[in-house]
C-alpha cells in the first residue's frame, strides 16, 4: 500500500526467539481479557470489579477453585484431543461428538454389567471404573478413527465428517437420555441415570484421579513429539506431507493413529466430566453446554502452539475464566453467554497475535525513478 513517497508492506518475519512465542501467547490472552471487559459494561459494578469477581471465584474461593480444577482437567483432555491431530496437520473439530461418545460408553458399562441396579456389584468397583475409562477412550477413539480413516484413505475432509458426527452424537445422546429406557434417569427429567456411589471415581482432596491421567498425558505427549521417531513422523506429515512421503512416512497409518489418539482423549474428557465429577455422576439435560466447552480445547492447543505441557497453565486459566465468567454472569445478572463470548474473543486475538508474530509492518521509501513498484520475486535469468 502506498502513501505518497512511502509504502507500507507486510513482510514476513524471520524466525524469532522462543521467548516471543510465550510473549505473543500472553499478549493474546491479555488483549482478549481487555476486550471482554466490554461484556461486563452492562454490569452495575463495571469491568474491574467484575474481573475481580471472576478471578476471586475461580482461583481464590475454595469451591470455585475446585470447580476450576475439575474443568481444567476436562479442558486439558479436550486440548490433547485437538492437539494430536493438529500436529499431523489435521483438524479434529469433532470434540463434542467424541466427548458424548465417551460419556455414553462410560455409562453403558455399568448398565451392561447390571451394576446400576444392585447395591453390591458383582465385579470390584475399581475394575468397573477401569472398564468405564477404557470404554470412554475406545468410544471416542473409534469416532475419531472413523474420521481419520476416511481422511487417510479417501481424502474426505475431516472437518466436514467430524462436524456431521458432532450433530449425530448430539441427537443420539438426546435419544438415550430421553427415550433410552434403562439409560434414563429415575425422574423423567430428560437426563441419564445416576451412577451408584460404589462407582464414584476415587478422589484426592476432591479431585478425581483423572487429574493424574491428564498430567501424565501432558508429559507423555511432549516427549512423544520431541523425542520419538513416531512423533517426528507425525510432525513431518503435518509440516509437509509430500516431503514426509518422500522420507518413507506413510500418511494413512499416521492419520488414523492421531485421530484414534485424539478421539480417545476426548472420550476421556467425556468420562471425566459426566462420570467422575462430584455433584454430576450423570448426563444432565444441558449436556450440550459441556460439548461446546470442549471447543476451548481448540484455542488452548493453538495458543500453546502444539505444546501439551504449555497447554496446562492455559487450560487452567481458561477453566477459571469460563467458570468465573459464568459465576459473574449470575452474580451480576449479565446476559447468558459471557463465557462463549470470551471463547470467540480469544480466537480473534489468537489469530491477531499470529499475524503479529509472523509479520511486521515495514515502512519504506520508494526509490525515485520507479513509479508504482510491485514487489517482485527473486531474480531470474
Amino acid at each position: 500500500m502506498r502513501l505518497g513517497r512511502h509504502e507500507i508492506t507486510l513482510d514476513p518475519r524471520p524466525t524469532l526467539r522462543p521467548i516471543y512465542t510465550v510473549l505473543t501467547a500472553v499478549v493474546a490472552i491479555v488483549v482478549a481479557l481487555a476486550l471482554s471487559s466490554v461484556l461486563f459494561l452492562s454490569a452495575e459494578t463495571g469491568p474491574f470489579s467484575a474481573y475481580r469477581i471472576v478471578f476471586s471465584y475461580a482461583f481464590f474461593n475454595p469451591r470455585g477453585f475446585l470447580a476450576t480444577t475439575h474443568r481444567a482437567i476436562y479442558l486439558l483432555f479436550a486440548t490433547y484431543a485437538f492437539l494430536v491431530p493438529l500436529r499431523a496437520g489435521l483438524w479434529n473439530i469433532g470434540l463434542p461428538g467424541q466427548v458424548f461418545a465417551g460419556a455414553l460408553a462410560s455409562f453403558a458399562v455399568p448398565l451392561a454389567l447390571r451394576a446400576a441396579e444392585s447395591p453390591t456389584p458383582a465385579l470390584p468397583p475399581v475394575l468397573i471404573i477401569g472398564l468405564m475409562v477404557a470404554a470412554a477412550a475406545a468410544a471416542g477413539g473409534v469416532l475419531g478413527g472413523f474420521a481419520g480413516i476416511l481422511r487417510a484413505r479417501l481424502q474426505v475432509n475431516e472437518i466436514l465428517v467430524t462436524m456431521m458426527l458432532n450433530s449425530i452424537l448430539f441427537w443420539l445422546v438426546s435419544y438415550m437420555i430421553k427415550e433410552g429406557g434403562v439409560f434414563m434417569g429415575a425422574t423423567a427429567e430428560g437426563e441419564s441415570f445416576s451412577l451408584p456411589p460404589s462407582l464414584y471415581a476415587p478422589l484426592l482432596r476432591g479431585v478425581p484421579f483423572t487429574a493424574v491421567l491428564a498430567l501424565l498425558a501432558a508429559v507423555f505427549l511432549d516427549l512423544l513429539f520431541a523425542k520419538t521417531a513416531l512423533g517426528y513422523r507425525i510432525r513431518a506429515l503435518g509440516e509437509n506431507p509430500a516431503a514426509a512421503r518422500y522420507g518413507g512416512i506413510i500418511p494413512v497409518t499416521l492419520s488414523l493413529m492421531v485421530f484414534l489418539l485424539g478421539g480417545a482423549f476426548a472420550g476421556l474428557a467425556g468420562y471425566h466430566y459426566f462420570a467422575a465429577l462430584p455433584g454430576v455422576y450423570k448426563i444432565p439435560g444441558n449436556y450440550g453446554y459441556y460439548g461446546d466447552l470442549a471447543f476451548y480445547g481448540i484455542i488452548s492447543a493453538l495458543i500453546a502452539r502444539g505444546s501439551s505441557l504449555g497447554a496446562v497453565p492455559i487450560a487452567v486459566l481458561f477453566a477459571g475464566l469460563s467458570l468465573g465468567a459464568r459465576f459473574a454472569q449470575g452474580a451480576l445478572h449479565l446476559p447468558f453467554g459471557v463465557d462463549y463470548a470470551l471463547l470467540g474473543l480469544l480466537m480473534m486475538t489468537f489469530v491477531g497475535s499470529q499475524v503479529v508474530y509472523n509479520f511486521r509492518l515495514a515502512w519504506r521509501r520508494v526509490p525515485s525513478e520507479a513509479a508504482s513498484s510491485m514487489t517482485t520475486g527473486m531474480p531470474e535469468a
Binding site: P14, A229, N240, A242, A243, Y246, G248, T376
Partner: protein
C-alpha cells in the same frame, strides 16, 4: 547509411535485487520487422530485461522508447496496450480451460458479456491470416507443449502485439517442434510485420533464426551485432567471457557387478494416462545412466517408480536380484536406494524444520540413530554437522531452519544427506536445476564421486551437456520410452537429440 530508427529502444536500464545487480546500464535497440536474439547464460539478466520491457518489473534506472516516444510500463496491462506481448518460459495458461477461453482471457475488448461466438470468429480469422491450425475447443491440458506455446503466441497476437517477446521458447520443445516454431516465427515476421525478441541461451537457435543478436553477460551488454557477421565461437566467448574447455569425466574406472535390472517398467501419471510405457535397462555398480529428455516425457514417473513413490503399472524392478517392484519407499531406503527429487524445497526438504530435522528425514527409521523408538538427537546433530562441512553448506549452525538456506546450499545439504547413507542405487532427478555455476559444478563432481565409490546412478536431466559429460550410458526418453540405451562412445548430441524427438535409432544414426 544511418541505421533505421529502432522501434523499441532501451537506454541505461539498471535493476538491482537484494544482494545482486541484475542489469547494469543496458542499452537495447530493436528494429521493426526483425527477429532479434538476446543471448546469454542462466543468470545473465535476459529474463529480467524482458520483464522490464513487458512491465512486470520496474527498472531502477533507465528509459524506454517506443516509436520514438518515451514510455513507462507499470504493468503488463500497459505493455499489452502498447502492442508488446510476451510468451514466458513457463506456461501461463489455464490448463482446464479451452484454447479459446485462454486466448480471450483478460482481453480489454471482452468486457461484460463474453460473446464467445464473436470471439471465436475473430480468433479463427486470425488463425487463417497467420496460417495456424489449432482446435479452439480443445482443453489446454490435452495439447502438447508445442501446441500450448502456439496458443500463447496466438493469445499475444490476438491482443494486437506488434512486438512478440519469447523467453526461452525452445527449452521444452522437441527438435521438430522447434523447427515448426522457428518457421512460424519467420512467417510472422516476413508476412505480417511482427517484430520478435527471442531470448535464449542456445546458439543454434540464434544462428538460424535471428537477424541481429545482443549478448548479455552478468547484467551487461557485451556484444551487439548482425548474426550474419557472428560465428559460434565468437558468441560463446562473449557469453562466457573466457575460453572454456569442457572437461569430460575420466573413463579409467571399470564398473562392478550388475546391480539394477529394470524390465518393461510402466506407470500412470496423475491424470491417469500411461506416462511411462515400459523401459528396460540394466545398470552395474559404478555406472551412471543418463536419461535425457525434455520434461514431460515420463521422467518424473520413472524417478518416482524407481524410488517407490508411485506404483508400477507393469514390469519389474530388481535390485541385486531382489524383486523390489512393489516395495515401499521406506523399505527401499533401508535397502540402499537414495533419491534426490527435482523439487528440493517442496518434496526433498521441510522448510520449517531445522537442518538436523531435515537430515532426520532420511534417518528416522535407521536403527543406528533410533533407540527403542527414541531419536538419537546428539548423533543426528553430529551427522548434520559433518554433512554441512563436507558439502560446504553455508549455514550459521545446524539448528537453523531449512527455509533460510539458498537453493544451492539446500541442494548440497540434500545431496549430503542422501549420500551419507552410501546408497547402492542413487536416483538424481534434475539435480542441478536452478543452481548457480559453482553449485552445479559441485553437484556434478559429487555425482561422479558417488559413481567412483561404486554406486549405480540414474541421472535424469534436461541438460544434454550434463548427461553427456557424466554418463556411462545414455538413454534418450520420449513419450515414456527409451529410444535406445547408448554406451558413452556412441552417444553424441545429434543422435541423442534426435531420439529425444522421437526419431527411431536407425534414422537417428543415419543423420
Amino acid at each position: 547509411m544511418t541505421a533505421p530508427e529502432p522501434l523499441l529502444a532501451a537506454r541505461g536500464i539498471s535493476k538491482r535485487f537484494p544482494g545482486v545487480v541484475a542489469l547494469d546500464h543496458v542499452d537495447l535497440d530493436v528494429r521493426a520487422g526483425e527477429v532479434h536474439a538476446i543471448l546469454g547464460q542462466n543468470g545473465a539478466g535476459k529474463t529480467t530485461l524482458m520483464n522490464i520491457l513487458f512491465g512486470l518489473v520496474q527498472p531502477d534506472e533507465g528509459t524506454l522508447t517506443l516509436d520514438g516516444r518515451r514510455v513507462r510500463f507499470r504493468s503488463p496491462h500497459d505493455a499489452l496496450a502498447q502492442g508488446i506481448g510476451m510468451v514466458h518460459q513457463t506456461r501461463r495458461l489455464v490448463s482446464a480451460h479451452t484454447v479459446l477461453e485462454n486466448i480471450v482471457l483478460g482481453h480489454p475488448r471482452a468486457r461484460g458479456f463474453l460473446n464467445l461466438r464473436r470471439a471465436r470468429a475473430d480468433v479463427e480469422t486470425l488463425c487463417n491470416r497467420y496460417g495456424f491450425r489449432v482446435d479452439l475447443g480443445a482443453r489446454v491440458w490435452q495439447l502438447s507443449e508445442g501446441g500450448r506455446q502456439w496458443v500463447e503466441i496466438l493469445k499475444a497476437l490476438y491482443r494486437g502485439a506488434r512486438i512478440l517477446i519469447l523467453d526461452e521458447p525452445t527449452s521444452v520443445l522437441t527438435p521438430p517442434e522447434v523447427r515448426t516454431l522457428l518457421a512460424g516465427l519467420q512467417a510472422l515476421v516476413r508476412d505480417q510485420g511482427v517484430t520478435v525478441l527471442l531470448v535464449t541461451h542456445k546458439l543454434p537457435i540464434v544462428m538460424t533464426a535471428s537477424r541481429r543478436v545482443t549478448v548479455l553477460r552478468s547484467g551487461r551488454v557485451v556484444a551487439r551485432l548482425p548474426t550474419a557477421e557472428a560465428t559460434e565461437e565468437v558468441l560463446i566467448q562473449h557469453m562466457i567471457g573466457r575460453d572454456v574447455a569442457f572437461r569430460s569425466v575420466g573413463r579409467s574406472h571399470t564398473a562392478g557387478r550388475p546391480l539394477l535390472e529394470v524390465e518393461h517398467l510402466a506407470a500412470f501419471n496423475d491424470k491417469g494416462l500411461l506416462a511411462l510405457r515400459g523401459v528396460t535397462f540394466g545398470l552395474r555398480e559404478g555406472e551412471v545412466l543418463g536419461v535425457a529428455g525434455v520434461t514431460g516425457n515420463g521422467q518424473e514417473e520413472l524417478a518416482q517408480v524407481l524410488a517407490g513413490l508411485r506404483p508400477a503399472a507393469g514390469g519389474r524392478l530388481r535390485l541385486d536380484g531382489l524383486d523390489v517392484t512393489h516395495l515401499s519407499p521406506l523399505d527401499r531406503w533401508r535397502l540402499g536406494v537414495g533419491y534426490i527429487p527435482a523439487e528440493r524445497a517442496e518434496v526433498a526438504s521441510i522448510a520449517a524444520f531445522s537442518l538436523v530435522e531435515n537430515t532426520t528425514l532420511n534417518y528416522h527409521f535407521d536403527p543406528a540413530y533410533t533407540r527403542r523408538g527414541l531419536l538419537d538427537d546428539t548423533g543426528l546433530a553430529q551427522l548434520t554437522q559433518r554433512i554441512l562441512s563436507a558439502y560446504n553448506v553455508k549455514a550459521p549452525h545446524e539448528y537453523v531452519r531449512a527455509q533460510h538456506l539458498s537453493g544451492g546450499n539446500l541442494q548440497k545439504l540434500i545431496l549430503g544427506r542422501v549420500l551419507s547413507r552410501h546408497p547402492r542405487l542413487l536416483i538424481a532427478h534434475l539435480p542441478t536445476q536452478g543452481l548457480d555455476v559453482e553449485a552445479t559444478a559441485f553437484v556434478r563432481s559429487t555425482l561422479l564421486d558417488a559413481r567412483a565409490s561404486g554406486a549405480a546412478v540414474v541421472l535424469i536431466s534436461e541438460d544434454l551437456d550434463e548427461i553427456l559429460s557424466l554418463s556411462d550410458w545414455v538413454a534418450p526418453i520420449y513419450e515414456g520410452r527409451f529410444g535406445a540405451v547408448l554406451p558413452h562412445d556412441e552417444a553424441d548430441a545429434e543422435t541423442v537429440g534426435a531420439m529425444m524427438a522421437g526419431l527411431p535409432m536407425r534414422e537417428a544414426g543415419a543423420r
